[in-house]
Every structure is written in C-alpha cells, then in structure tokens.
Amino acid sequence: MKFLDEYRDAGLARQFARELHRVTTRPWKIMEICGGQTHAIVKFGIDELLPEEITLIHGPGCPVCVTPLEMIDKALEIAARPNVIFTSFGDMLRVPGSATDLLSVKAKGGDVRIVYSPLDAVKLAEQNPAKEIVFFGVGFETTAPATAMAIHQAARKNLGNFSMLVSHVLVPPAIETLMSSPNCRVQGFLAAGHVCTVMGFEEYFPIAKKCRVPIVVTGFEPLDILQGVLMTVQQLESGRAEVENQYARSVRREGNQPAQELIKKIFKVVPRKWRGIGEIPQSGLGLNDEYAAFDAGEKFGVAESRVEESSECLSGLVLQGQIKPHECPAFGVKCTPERPLGAPMVSGEGACAAYYRYRRQPDPLAGK
C-alpha cells in the first residue's frame, strides 16, 4: 500500500539492522514510549533484527492501559444508568474495572456504543436530546485535540445532554517520573511520533538535558522504528544526549499550534493517577472551570473510590519496563485477552496483549 509499503521494506530493514550491528559496541536499554510502537515491534518482529546488546523496554504509552481503575469504575457506573448512552473508543470496552467491564454492562442492557471520534458522540447528543450522552475521553496528547473539539462544539451548540469523563494523560511528565525512579534502567527513549505531531518536541529538550538521555522522536512503521533505534544508539555510543527527530515527515519542532491552543482552551493540567505507576504530578488533562458543566463525573455524582488492583497482575512492573510481559507468572495462564487481569492484556497497544498475540508459545501452560 502506498505510503506504507515503503516503510515496511524487508531489504531496507536489513540494511538498518546491519548498520545497528556495526555501530553497537555494548549493551543499551532503550524504551519506546508508545504502545503503537510496541505493537509494531512485536507484530513485525523488529526486535529480532536488533543486535543482542540492545534491549527494547516497552513503555507506558498505551492510554487504555494507564487509565486508572477508579476512572473505569466511574465509567462502568455511569454506563449502567438508564437513559445514558455511553460512548467510547473500542478498546476501552474490554478493560476490566474492579468488578466488570463495559462489554458486560452492555450485555446486561446498558447502552454502550463504540465511536470512532468524540465528534460522533456530539452528533449522538444532537440526535437524542432526551438521552444523556457520555464520552469516555482517554488518550495521550494525540487524541486530546479531538476531545477538546467535541467539548468546544458541544458548548457552542449548547448541548446540555453531553458530558465527558476525561482521563487524558501527558507523556513528558511520565518520562521524567520513570527516569527519577531508582529502578530505572532506561538509557534512551523513542518518543511517540503522533504525540509530537500535535505537541512538537520543545518539551523534551529540558528532559534530555536534565536526565542525560537521548530522546528520538520516532514514527510507527518498521523502518521508522529501526531508524529511531539506530539514531538513539548512535547518540549513546558517542556519549550524546540530544533530542532528534526521526519522524520529520510528520513532526515539526513546534507541533500543531492550533491544536495546542484548543487543548489549552478546554483543558487544564492536573495531577493524574496512572494505572500501574501511581499518581504523577502535572500529568493529566482535566476540564477547565469554564467547561465544568461537561464533567460527567460531577454531573452523575459518581464518587471517587479507592480500589485495589489484582495482586496477581504485575502490569505496573510491565508499564514501568521492569519486566517483560511473559515474565509475569499470570501471563497466558490466569491472564489472557479473553479474561484479562490488567489493562495491558486488553488493548491492541498493550504490551501484554502484543506478546500474547504474537509471541505466545502454542501451549501457554507448557513448562509452567
């Protein structure tokens, strides 16, 4: 397919791999932030082309995976109410809350619908004035402009029956938190190309300097990722810690400014709990006071609860890059995509689901 096949060329992939073998002289641990990249790495087998000195650590960049349990429980509570049409992106539907998931709420009669854009939820609100339409706004900076646009439009159209459960998260604070952890083994980052398409990469300069790590803005196709890894290794081998842009065909240093302005208009930066990691200051987006009327949590009066994660799920360690998914004892045994213990086994972008789908041994019980 045009504009894709060019970036999936087996011959060029091997050339990048050869170059990586040539420049790598010692072990390096590189984290790809974005779940989309994790998925591509495992799907195409990109890591198998790398020199054995290079370890890719799969980062927390799957919005579904890091959405806190409390927020999912709120969603489940709202979705089960009568007269509510609860809308969400598809992969949120199977994420387990503390007792159930949205698909099960739907099976019991809740009106839960998949939408492809938050604007579709706004349309539903216009078409169903007697119903309450709630959108589950999750995602990184990539989807934040679309979510912001939905609120903007709903406000302009005076849609009193539209509201949103906002659980947006921001990448740079997460990188800083990871780097400040004493267990952190990461020596270089592939920053998420789509996030930077919106936000640019100015924010990464202070982080690269402060934490002394190379950060390479990287795309999502196999050749993008191989080149991103190569650029990171070249920096590491030569003792540099700079911000570079591999994904120049999409990302500009200043990003997409109208999108950023819209985000700023609708949202404010708030502290946010990340599932598996904990609360990170200044790492989330919440509605600005001016748009508080669209806050579904407030509107439906769902209380903030403290809930415990399953003790068998080690997704926190996976999301922090401290273990690989298959090193979790529950992986493929108690935790499968049909019955996930934790969110990374649910989303297509979750590291556990990617390993299960593409790396699982034929009999998951063998040898356990």
Binding site: M1, A10, R14, V42, P337, E338, R357
Partner: protein
C-alpha cells in the same frame, strides 16, 4: 431421550465459559471466545463423531450415498450492502459450507425470523435476491419456516438456511486431513466483506466503495475436483477471517502452518481501511473466499483453474503446512521476521490512536 438426565452444569461441566456469566457479542465473533463456547458447551453437550470433525458441514452416509449437511444463520446489519444482501448471503454462505466438503449443493431450507413492522417491499427484495442466488448456485429452496417477533425484538430480519449436498467423489476433504508439505491456496483477496459492512455500518466514508466478496464457491471446488486435483482440506474464510480458519485447521490436523504476509492478497482500499481502524485484514470476514490445502504438485493446475473463474484473478499460494510440529500458525512478517498468527479473542475492536 426422556430417560436421559438433563445436562447439569456441575463441576464436570466447565461453565461459565471463560468465567463470563453472560453471553457477549464477542462469543459470536469467530475468535477464541466463540471457539471456547462451541468446544466447551455445544460440543460437550451434543458430542458425536460427526460433530467432532468440526467441519463446515457434516458428512454422512445415507443408503450408500455420501451426503453433506449444514446450517447457518444470517443476522447481518444492514440488510443490504455493496456487493450483496442478507438474502444472497444466506444462500451463498450455506452453499459454501457444503462446498467445503467437496459436495454438490442440492437443497436448502430457509427460515425467516421477521421483526414486526419490516416493510413488505424489503422482504420481497430479499426473497427475490435469494431466488436469484439459488438459481445461480443450482440449488432449490425446498422447505422453510416463517416467524414474526415483536417490534424491537429483532433487527428487521434474521434468516437461517440449512443445506444438503451430495458428495460424488472419493476424496476425504476435512480439517484433520491437511498434511505436511501441503501448499495453502486462497481463491482471492481477503477481508473485503467485513470491511464493506463495517464501512457502511459505521458510516465511514472512504473514497472508493468497498464491495463485499459474497459469492458462491461451489463451482470453483467442483471444478478443482473434476480436474482431478487432490484436495486434503477446504475451509471458508468467514467470521474470524483467514486467521481463524488457519488456526482451526492447524489445531485439527496438529500441524504447523507457515504463511507469508507478502503473499496474502489484500486489496489496497481494504488494507487502508483496516490500517485506519486498527484492524487486521487477516482477521476480517470474507463471504466468497476459501483456503485449500493441496499437494504441491497440484498447485499450478489448481491456481490456473481458480484464476480462470470470475473474481479469481487474485488466487494464489500463501504458504504451506510444515511437518512434525505442534499446532500453530506462523506468519513471516513484511520485514521477513516470523511470528505467530493468533486468532482474535473476541470481536475486533477499533483502536484509540
């Protein structure tokens, strides 16, 4: 029958399925959840040698003749879509299930479950479409049933068809019969039906219209048999797409299958739509496509026959069955690295970003 105890869901019966207390849509999605439901509930309860072959149709001997028998229900929404409608699909789907045993389809039943309020005009259009499809497939609709349910209790129209065909060859075509060394053919590009429905249902506007691949394949199979091609296994690529079909055969025959991503034909617009929605075209349903497992020596002739048929120009070899390995399907990715090709858990869900 009456002396038998009813099935009890005791500890011996592994229910609830996957610990789900309710049926989810995903239990009908063609992926692993559906296979668990069939394997643990239906197969357990109805166990018999014919059912256990888990073929698209059961093959039985009646008074010296070999008969294939199958049934399928059609619940597609919307009822009309580019490239077909629920009526033609209800004929093609059942004819194709019969064809997967190498049978010549002969007779169909047709049961209509109609929602109160369905425009008569709509029903007539569907019935005409079934009539035309049946004629094209050389089958007769010889018995049927009509039920009407309250408004809101159905989605316009559901159709069930059952089919009977006759097997006029001596070959044993079954999932268990795929053999090491077999090459795997498909009769055309994959994933078109599912994406045609998805695009329409979700109101996705693509530049080009993706039309369903819904079509009868019995003629193609009979043509292969007539030419003396040795066929070990056939499977239509319906729900769960190519991925589910290959995994089912791999499991039934206890074989490792090797396929190459680059060899699998996917139309560009289908591929683009899948990329956009985060779907895997290899998991998307087809309604006029099948995979055939045949000895390598027959591959050239088989391809020539399939390619000469209408809509068969993309027929090709996509991989082979290896020997002496456990059941698994391996895919050589576009950049040349091997990974497993696993069937989806439930329904394919569009991704976030």
């Amino acid at each position: 029958m009456s002396s038998q105890k009813p099935v009890e869901f005791s500890g011996a019966c592994p229910v609830p399925i996957s610990q789900y207390p309710h049926i989810l849509l995903a239990h009908g999605g063609g992926g692993r959840l559906m296979h668990q439901l069939i394997g643990r509930m239906f197969l357990e309860a109805f166990r018999n040698p014919l059912l256990e072959t888990r073929h698209d149709a059961a093959v039985m001997e009646l008074t010296g003749k070999k008969i294939a028998f199958t049934t399928d229900s059609y619940v597609v929404h919307p009822l009309f879509f580019p490239g077909g409608d629920i009526g033609s699909m209800a004929v093609h789907g059942t004819v194709n299930d019969l064809a997967m045993t190498g049978a010549r389809p002969l007779y169909l039943s047709s049961a209509f479950i109609i929602e109160e309020g369905l425009p008569m005009e709509t029903l007539w259009k569907v019935v005409c479409s079934m009539r035309d499809a049946a004629k094209k497939c050389g089958v007769q609709i010889v018995t049927g049933d009509t039920k009407v349910v309250d408004k809101g209790k159905g989605d316009g129209l559901f159709i069930n068809t059952a089919g009977v065909g006759i097997i006029e060859h001596e070959q044993k075509i079954a999932p268990q019969n795929a053999r090491p060394g077999d090459v795997i053919l498909v009769n055309g590009d994959v994933g078109r039906h599912g994406m045609a429905i998805m695009a329409l249902r979700e109101g996705l506007e693509f530049e080009s219209k993706i039309e369903s691949d819904s079509a009868p394949v019995a003629d193609a199979v009979l043509e292969l048999l007539r030419a003396g091609i040795e066929i070990h296994c056939l499977r239509d690529l319906t729900r769960g797409g190519l991925t589910s079909a290959l995994n089912e055969i791999s499991e039934a025959a206890n074989l490792t299958l090797l396929v190459e991503e680059k060899l699998i034909p996917v139309r560009e617009d289908v591929h683009a739509a899948c990329e956009m929605l985060g779907l895997d075209p290899l998991q998307v349903a087809c309604e006029g496509r099948f995979a055939a497992f045949i000895p390598e020596r027959d591959a050239g002739r088989a391809l020539a026959i399939l390619r000469a048929l209408s809509d068969g120009s993309k027929a090709c070899v996509i991989g082979k069955a290896a020997g002496g390995h456990p059941a698994k399907v391996l895919l050589k990715s576009a950049i040349g690295v091997q990974r497993i090709l696993d069937m989806a858990g439930g329904e394919q869900l569009p991704r976030i970003c």
